[in-house]
């Protein structure tokens, strides 16, 4: 039996869009890490809890690719996805 679940590939594709190195002059990566460090949050709620949600979403997608935040790719990736601290999925 061979094959990925389609949503895994879709999730990987979405994360890959923000995999390149990004500058973070507003410190949004630290904000996201601290918020998730308190407790796991849904992606939509996490982004809204930052000081600049419009920009924070890109970093919220960037960090799981680099293993600084964790997300369960077995579930469809979206605003309802739970974002976890690394090592506590």
């Amino acid at each position: 039996m061979a094959g990925w679940q389609r949503r895994v590939l879709t999730g990987l594709d979405a994360l890959s869009a923000r995999r390149r190195q990004m500058t973070d002059q507003l410190g949004l990566q630290s904000e996201l890490m601290e918020l998730v460090g308190e407790r796991p949050r849904r992606l939509g709620d996490l982004v809204e809890a930052t000081s600049l949600p419009a920009a924070a979403r890109a970093y919220a997608v960037h960090l799981p690719w680099h293993r600084r935040l964790a997300v369960d790719l077995a579930r469809p990736l979206g605003d309802d996805s739970w974002i976890y601290p690394v090592g506590r999925l």
Binding site: M1, A2, G3, W4, L9, L12, D13, L15, S16, R19, R20, W65, R67
Partner: protein, 151 residues
């Protein structure tokens, strides 16, 4: 190890057991990765963050594998179609070009990618002994530690 010069490039020919001595990083893909309208397979180039450059693929299944490899991290190098394997069976001479040679820390993995429904029984002829790792994600229908193949 023999070499034939053609078009300014040198073909390196060696037994499988001597593959580890071949300068793989200086090689070029066996085939190109061009694509045109109405072509049945989708070839192209995929960027890998791990290597910082583009890598050729010949199908969307191969492209997905490259993306997954990039996500796994730890990939040191990926060579598309690294060499042509020529061999003889009871049915005569044949050859096979593996899709990828993936260099990981301390090891190398040869990968062939094909949708499961396109895998035929005769494909096992060009596969080395199934020792070591043998996983089947997506269209990766056979891969093995390069050590098993003598790389």
């Amino acid at each position: 190890m023999d070499g034939d010069v053609a078009d300014g490039r040198e073909d390196v020919i060696c037994p499988v057991q001597d593959l580890s001595g071949v300068p793989a990083l200086a090689s070029v893909p066996v085939r190109g990765f061009t694509w045109r309208a109405r072509q049945r397979h989708r070839a192209g180039l995929q960027y890998l963050l791990a290597t910082g450059r583009m890598h050729g693929f010949e199908s969307l299944a191969e492209r997905r594998l490259l993306l997954a490899l990039d996500f796994t991290g730890g990939v040191e190098e990926v060579l598309s179609q690294p060499f042509r394997l020529r061999f003889t069976t009871a049915d005569g001479a044949d050859d096979h070009t593996p899709d990828f040679l993936v260099l990981l820390p301390g090891t190398a993995v040869l990968m062939d990618v094909r949708p499961a429904h396109l895998v035929k029984e005769k494909d096992s002829v060009s596969s080395p002994p199934q020792r070591g790792r043998h996983l089947r994600p997506d269209g990766v229908t056979r891969w093995w530690r390069a050590g098993s193949a003598g790389c």
